[in-house]
Symmetry: D2
Subunit: 338 residues, 4 copies
Amino acid sequence: MIVVLEPNTSKEELQHIARWIEDKYSVKIHLSRGENLTILGLVGNTSNVDAEQLEANEKIKTVINVAEPFKKANRLFHPDSSEIQVGDRTIGGEKLAIIAGPCSVESEEQIVDVAKSVQKSGAGFLRGGAFKPRTSPYAFQGLKYEGLELLKEAKKITGLPIVTELMSERDLDVFVEDVDVIQIGTRNMQNFELLKELGKIDKPILLKRGMSATVEEFLMSAEYIMAGGNEKVILCERGIRTFETYTRNTLDLSIIPAIKKLSHLPIVIDPSHATGKWWMVESLSKAAIAAGADGLIIEVHNNPEEALCDGQQSLKPTGFDDLMIELKKIAKIVERDI
Amino acid sequence: MIVVLEPNTSKEELQHIARWIEDKYSVKIHLSRGENLTILGLVGNTSNVDAEQLEANEKIKTVINVAEPFKKANRLFHPDSSEIQVGDRTIGGEKLAIIAGPCSVESEEQIVDVAKSVQKSGAGFLRGGAFKPRTSPYAFQGLKYEGLELLKEAKKITGLPIVTELMSERDLDVFVEDVDVIQIGTRNMQNFELLKELGKIDKPILLKRGMSATVEEFLMSAEYIMAGGNEKVILCERGIRTFETYTRNTLDLSIIPAIKKLSHLPIVIDPSHATGKWWMVESLSKAAIAAGADGLIIEVHNNPEEALCDGQQSLKPTGFDDLMIELKKIAKIVERDI
Amino acid sequence: MIVVLEPNTSKEELQHIARWIEDKYSVKIHLSRGENLTILGLVGNTSNVDAEQLEANEKIKTVINVAEPFKKANRLFHPDSSEIQVGDRTIGGEKLAIIAGPCSVESEEQIVDVAKSVQKSGAGFLRGGAFKPRTSPYAFQGLKYEGLELLKEAKKITGLPIVTELMSERDLDVFVEDVDVIQIGTRNMQNFELLKELGKIDKPILLKRGMSATVEEFLMSAEYIMAGGNEKVILCERGIRTFETYTRNTLDLSIIPAIKKLSHLPIVIDPSHATGKWWMVESLSKAAIAAGADGLIIEVHNNPEEALCDGQQSLKPTGFDDLMIELKKIAKIVERDI
Amino acid sequence: MIVVLEPNTSKEELQHIARWIEDKYSVKIHLSRGENLTILGLVGNTSNVDAEQLEANEKIKTVINVAEPFKKANRLFHPDSSEIQVGDRTIGGEKLAIIAGPCSVESEEQIVDVAKSVQKSGAGFLRGGAFKPRTSPYAFQGLKYEGLELLKEAKKITGLPIVTELMSERDLDVFVEDVDVIQIGTRNMQNFELLKELGKIDKPILLKRGMSATVEEFLMSAEYIMAGGNEKVILCERGIRTFETYTRNTLDLSIIPAIKKLSHLPIVIDPSHATGKWWMVESLSKAAIAAGADGLIIEVHNNPEEALCDGQQSLKPTGFDDLMIELKKIAKIVERDI
């Protein structure tokens, strides 16, 4: 950690600050005095040094943390890539995780039909929303507990593990019982109380990147879950908010090499929510696999025009089937399989 | 609501789509056929027409919602500005709401000292975090229930109503009992399950704008609370996330005239979190009042260098006192008082 | 084009505005009157209707342009993809355009060495900066005219066409004489006077997307060049500015399907400038080709540690050679070749 | 300047890198070796150390520049605020610079009428576009040289100095002759060749912040002009590009205290372009003055509904007059006058 002093700091003030930091945090200080700037390098265990507290000092211009603040999610301390076990499947290994299904569970017929068809095309996991985060209180909010039952029905028939979103701590026990992978949506990525609860359970978590979360903040949210004891975290990029309005969000595929360098956790890509347009999903799914993603989460609906949410970003089963054929070819080039 | 068709839509497809929309949503359609584009104007009650569902149709290029999606928060249906009652005070009326106090409650001495001093300077409300949302799981998370007790102690002595952040539905009953204004932080602005619970209680809510929430999304989150029956919502701008890194966030003061036009709800400004720098607070507090804000929420700490969080953005009591003198003058110019 | 009136507009005002618009712009108006909103649909040739002028009217709430404002760049009026001829090569056809070379031309030895090596690996074009846009006036500004001479030398030896950046109208004649593709940098994407000059020449232009340009603005800058008579425009995505600081910019690959739908112009991707990190280039180059890009522009330097600019984002020749082997495999899957 | 090494750097590599940097840049290195990270502090004259070149080294994780890269614009080396002389007026002193006028010069009657009326209301400078940067090549591009003549006519009658935008180096001589303050628009903030030319003349420059320029980049563009010898730079904030679409741009008023700390140059605010809505101008003008701005640039048109550009953001003369009355009161509170 590096502390930069204001240019007008006197020698006495400098010594006072240096001693104060050394005493308070039990670190050693290396001093570099340049022409205009004086820099203090803090050496030792700086993990509990509070940068914001230091910056409150009027003589401190800025504090720069050069070490990554995440530990358990850091590849530095865990060089091998993590593979997360989900029933008899894994996410993060050679086999790509293809998670497909409708935005919302709407009826038994719908979810079972879609589940069968995506399974036939080669998907390994079934997604489907029972609890739906909607911008408007007047929009369809999901079938809730009934939706979970329908997902279980579809799983019974196809064997596909269930990935679905949890929106409240209140439902955690039900989800631990019924669901294979608990999805945390973009709007809850920094719902810290929920993250703490997820740290206490033994269940894979698909953590979606916050709409305006930096890579570091994203990994810190994974760290919250891992710090509690649950290391089964799967990261998911779903587009970030930028000035561009043509797409719903801007898919940030550079996060794939970034995460592979910084962390050992697997990362999957959601091109459906990122773009909000079904006709962009094919192109970006191929890109994601080529870039080294560990999987995809794709919206598929048997009748998008009648979908109760997000129909405009859903593929039809035939479109998904065509896509999977292409994806298998690209997977092979990057030494993965589907 | 306006539906724009793809240029290659045939006459038969057009008629099919128009009839489908009319039947499904019981609206009337006005057709405008230009050289390259065909536009359907939907007239009638379009509040339950789902734009995303329509966009799933391959022949529909885009759907534009020209009516604001918020109702209870909309000034159109409630022309007079709302004044929210908090004990014997109001927020939204002629008198500006000045909410001051430390980022975190740290000790009885600290919170009582700060409360007394900000009261003396003219603040009308006491802020102080008991439950703290921190990016790192290893950072100080607040004194929690003990913090609430200390806030009540400070209120007993000064009479200042308490404004403090709720982070989990779990603690709602305690907050309803102990707190005067429940603050919802930027990271929970779209924690919809929490918003629904807030709609069921009778207690003022200070709703902070999400870090990357549009004005419309912000008002839709207020709408969530109001739709449940609790119309006591106070909006709070605290800076949005942009590319600029010199300040922690970018304070968007244009939201003040925007909210005044779109909604009847009061809006207060938080210059401390927006900038993350104590020496910017004075300038932006004056700007906010001049622009027509209904109040300010300002961090004040008696010893920022030892603050357990956000010391770098806290004013000292003397600095706050100086600021209040300036603010009173500006308030007078814009026909408000403090 | 759609004009939405303020809710409080009287019938007389409505008629006045409608007649004013009809007279001024010779368009027909379709009126849709809803419960709260009145909408005017403008039918006919609306290309010269000025939305901003209409919005100056106090009774007009907003104006929505549903037709794309670009004509010559629009796929609607030019359904086949454009192939731009550059000497004996084309950009936009089945063969991918791989443009490689150093950020800056530094010496004859350097540019000739790099040119030979990228040619051997399969690149079809040589890039290299002679005039360099640098954030600091104190940084190396390029070898300028001498750099152009060295590029010509490298072309003489390898036969690779030259792609290099023009920074000022002043140098246009020299560039027309010496260069095969004139690159316009991100900071000049809306240097409209320069764009107008480019419209008057007969030379391919590689137009980089502005750091914060929307897809529509990007195409409007292409339209500026094309409106002048030069239709040889190659678009280039090089990352946009977002809140994320881990990468220099955020590469927006969703622009590939967007441009393919909206326009007939070819689009190439620059992963080097987008990320600012050489170790991300491989992953994102593969992604770009898989997503359907028409080519890549990649920085390659024989000695990045001594490069006079942007060394941190340059591949070494061996790294580039390895990458090309992978790219050829992916190109084949998407039915392109290199 | 601080160089952080990759965690796996060996002792030999560390010594090699340290010696290489010391030799290449004639700086001294202070070494801080922590548990996981090794940090090199570069002491001495680091102004010509190229961070990007260092980052090309595979063993260097990141390079952090702790000193501001701007010199002539830096308050550190010029503690007193600069006052820029414009004819018999100054910008940056106690008297606020109020620059008002239409977006475009349209006719003699229009510009003379507006000039007279804003002068009467107390404006000190006349703005008006002769050369107009328009997103569309098909939109009105300004009256050009004829527009300059009309501005001179208005100046002759009112005495108000002229502020107008230069779009091309080509017209520099004419502008030096005819214009009092040369405005450089947001899209040309990093048109470096133009900036260099501006450095060679002796004329005040109003430099608008680029739509997505950081504060540091903004000051570096001022530095380009100053490095050439022209120190008469007036900064202008006109809104930055963010995700918010309700306003045209997001006005960043926190730049006022930021510039006041970092630089000695004056800063004026343009609320008209920032918001794109005339009814927001009053609120944000007051805010800007309260925050400590050195002036305002405001669009005023005698007939906004017929304005050839940007009518929707223009005040009418009576609105401007009312605003000036309010601004005078606020100016007094912050110890400035108009």
